[in-house]
Symmetry: C2
């Protein structure tokens, strides 16, 4: 390895260490911290983030990257060295464009917007949040102005979550997907609804958590390199490839969600535990994009965890754990219940068939906000109209409508579409996996996930951030991100469940 | 506040934030971290410590300190501003003297020495540890060489733990203490031994932990600004004045120790929770020295927690919690049992009467090592001889002798005496407290610790690092650190228990 590469890796290694330290502080904040700790913790995180930025955007790092680009000119672009310099250069260029004062301003605006959002949602009063969201969108425009003009201003935002992805790509995909998905939901809602009352009894938290632990242990989650805790919001966080943690939560009114939340987060964690350890402390560590990350969490939660073969394996044990709750409930009835489709108001509770429509609605609003085509004050009304158009439901108030998500309050505009893209990618990968592992259902039916995990390790996980999301998906499946496999998957699954 | 002071505080605030972040990582390492996380965590901590050092010893910080010294010339030395600049200057001078390469070398040597010590203790074979300890002592000499010559080379080491304290002060105190303490133990061991078999039954962990929580809640430990977890070694750690955490452990063969460990660590935590919040993110935050810190933990553990009034309050509840274990055991018998004096081999298990002798032995060996008067290879023999002289026991092997403590493997030479000094200070403060709160015993007997805590807050806690330990002790008690109150305390207590 060249001396300059060594030097660059040392500098970037320190930056990575600070980032990971901040993740530990963030995890602790959500999992353990006593209420008193909040103010100092915010200060500590601000300091770490400031120092990481300072250490990254030095002229020296810039020179090393430039020299290495020259040095590696003509090298195999798929080599780890070339990839490392490429990703470092991309991140460096972005980081240099955004002035520290802007970051500081954005932190203050977001923090106030977050507080206003909490209050607004509590009172279901959009007018409290409105001036803050206006300020957030103003800063988003300012942020975009730091970058060279793109095909579409929204491209700049999207690129932070999905490197290389264009707004036009996403809208094309969604334009194809939308009518098919609306049609499917219409067909489903015209059929007889499945029964699921038995899912909403009092399932004991401890037993559900233990069951979740058993499930993800079989998935291959490595407990010597991770742990699970409880937190108000489930998440996965990475302190190193050998310390990848997840959290879950328990909701009184939807106890079974604990189980799916654990499976979902374990999908993120399996990804992170499977990345090439040589990428540690470099910009190649971590998953390549939010959408690819979400493809992994959704795959384990939905394509595996809500499948019939999965429950054919686990249901006897589950029924033994909750004999009274599930008395007289067959595995088929249980399977149908956990896959019930019902157009609803809240994104995070949406089923697989309706989920993407929640996302498309948000993406359309975000693009319109960025283009300046709509006034923030009109958001609630537009939201409600679209909900009626796409899902046939109308929010009774803003708390259950435009105010339900945290993302905009934190300035995260450009994020939502990654959830839907993740669904699509998961189905694309799944079709390929079914070709490569022809008896996959039988394996799952036996509780054996080793070949599946091995496939994901080999084809997705190990690469970390080496490839951009579209490149990776194309490399593995032969085509770029597309909606057809997901529609095929939904149609088959719900066709069987609802007898379409 | 002057602009320069503002600037200095900003720089030092960042350094403090990094230090506190490192504490969070250290806490997590001991409380939560899965085994896989170890290597990356070591790297993350090394990076944080390097950056904190870099950010602290800049020329700019040096100039600010020099300018502020001038600016504050003639200001009240007891003002917060003068104290802040004084302590910052002291720390800065020390930090500038030690080259970064030395710190890196020391980290590597300690890490190897620690591994060798673990192995050596496991096999009870000093020869495995010996070459590493030789290297550690070599580095200690090198460290001393960075500083101006002191009255005694050991002064330089001691000053890192007890600012302003001299080796001569400590040896003078210990020379006075040693014969009195040896005499007392001889008198005790000639009397009939107390019964304590009932302490070694199977006390349930959960119940003991809950009881400990009740006790320190009454002490005044603020749970909205802290929490308790389990860890292999009990400790207290501070992330801010509003997030001060403790850990405890449970040992099968000495269950009751859980309770005293909780009280001990809560003493450290009460100190940290009581420091002036204005000192946050400055060098005045945190306790003033290890000895003063230990005076607080020992006070709550021993002077409070092993006193008869304490158990007159808590014993009924404790007996109700463990009715079978304590059947027929009166509060007096219980009190005697938890205060049993028995010369023993292991420092951490030693009672109040013998503990200091373990320390004196170590201090003598450390001073002799620093002076080069003894060869490392002779340590085990000298250790065993001194154990026989002071305590009348001889270790059967090195694991129970010279290899029992972790400190030397980490390069912490100069640390041990702070434990004994803490005992002495606790008794000095206690005599003063008894004068100021004449009905202290009655208050404790009622489970009311509010006046005691209030006194400590007012006279000790709030000051943080504003005063050096000797100055603080003199300010509060009218005399510098001395052994007489401690001997008076032991003589009275054990006189009653053993009928001397």
């Amino acid at each position: 390895m060249s001396e300059k590469l060594e030097q660059l890796k040392e500098r970037l290694g320190e930056v990575a260490d600070i980032g990971r330290a901040a993740s530990v502080l963030g995890w602790d904040q959500q999992v353990n911290m006593p209420p008193g700790g909040n103010e100092a913790r915010g200060q500590q995180l601000a300091t770490l983030s400031k120092i990481a930025q300072e250490k990254f955007i030095t002229d020296e790092v810039g020179r090393l990257i430039d020299d290495l680009k020259q040095e590696l000119n003509g090298a195999d672009p798929a080599s780890d060295e070339a990839a490392l310099v490429r990703v470092a250069a991309r991140n460096y260029d972005k980081a240099r464009r955004v002035p520290p004062e802007f970051i500081a301003e954005q932190a203050i605006v977001s923090s106030r917007a977050f507080e206003a959002w909490v209050e607004a949602r509590g009172k279901s009063d959009f007018s409290i949040f409105r001036p803050h969201l206006e300020k957030v969108v103003e800063l988003v425009h300012k942020y975009i102005s730091f970058f060279p003009p793109a095909d579409h201003p929204y491209d700049t935002l999207l690129d932070d979550y999905e490197p290389g992805m264009k707004t036009a790509d996403v809208t094309e995909i969604f334009d194809g997907l939308r009518p098919k998905q609306v049609e499917l939901i219409k067909a489903i809602t015209s059929r007889k609804q499945v029964k699921d009352a038995f899912l909403y009894r009092k399932y004991k938290q401890r037993k559900l958590m233990d069951f979740g632990v058993d499930v993800i242990t079989k998935f291959g989650y490595d407990w010597s390199r991770g742990r699970q805790d409880k937190a108000p919001h489930p998440f996965e966080t990475t302190f190193s490839v050998d310390d990848v943690r997840i959290t879950t939560r328990y909701e009184e009114d939807n106890p079974i969600a604990t189980l799916f939340s654990t499976m979902h987060e374990s999908g993120h964690a399996l990804y992170e535990q499977g990345i090439d350890p040589d990428y540690e402390r470099t910009p190649l560590s971590g998953g390549t994009s939010l959408a690819v990350h979400e493809s992994q969490s959704r795959m384990w939660e939905n394509l595996v965890g809500r499948s019939l073969p999965f429950w054919e394996h686990f249901y006897p044990a589950f029924k033994k754990t909750f004999p009274k709750h599930l008395e007289g409930v067959s595995v088929k009835s249980f399977y149908k219940a956990i896959n019930k489709v019902e157009p609803s108001l809240i994104r995070v509770n949406a089923d697989e068939a309706t989920y993407n429509l929640h996302i498309m609605l948000r993406l359309e609003l975000e693009i319109a906000m960025v283009e300046g085509r709509i006034a923030i004050k009109d958001l609630p009304e537009i939201w409600n109209t679209k909900m009626q158009d796409y899902l046939g439901v109308t929010p009774p108030d803003d708390a259950k409508g435009v105010l339900q998500d945290i993302h905009w309050s934190g300035g995260s505009i450009g994020y939502f579409s990654t959830y839907a893209l993740g669904n699509l990618i998961s189905a694309q990968l799944w079709e390929k996996i079914r070709v490569d592992i022809s008896d996959l259902d039988d394996q799952i039916r036996k509780g054996d996930f080793s070949q599946l995990l091995g496939w994901l390790r080999k084809n997705i996980h190990q690469y970390g951030q080496k490839y951009e999301p579209q490149t990776l998906v194309e490399k593995v499946t032969g085509s770029r991100i597309t909606y057809e496999p997901y529609i095929r998957y939904l149609t088959k699954k719900y066709g069987e469940i609802y007898g379409l």
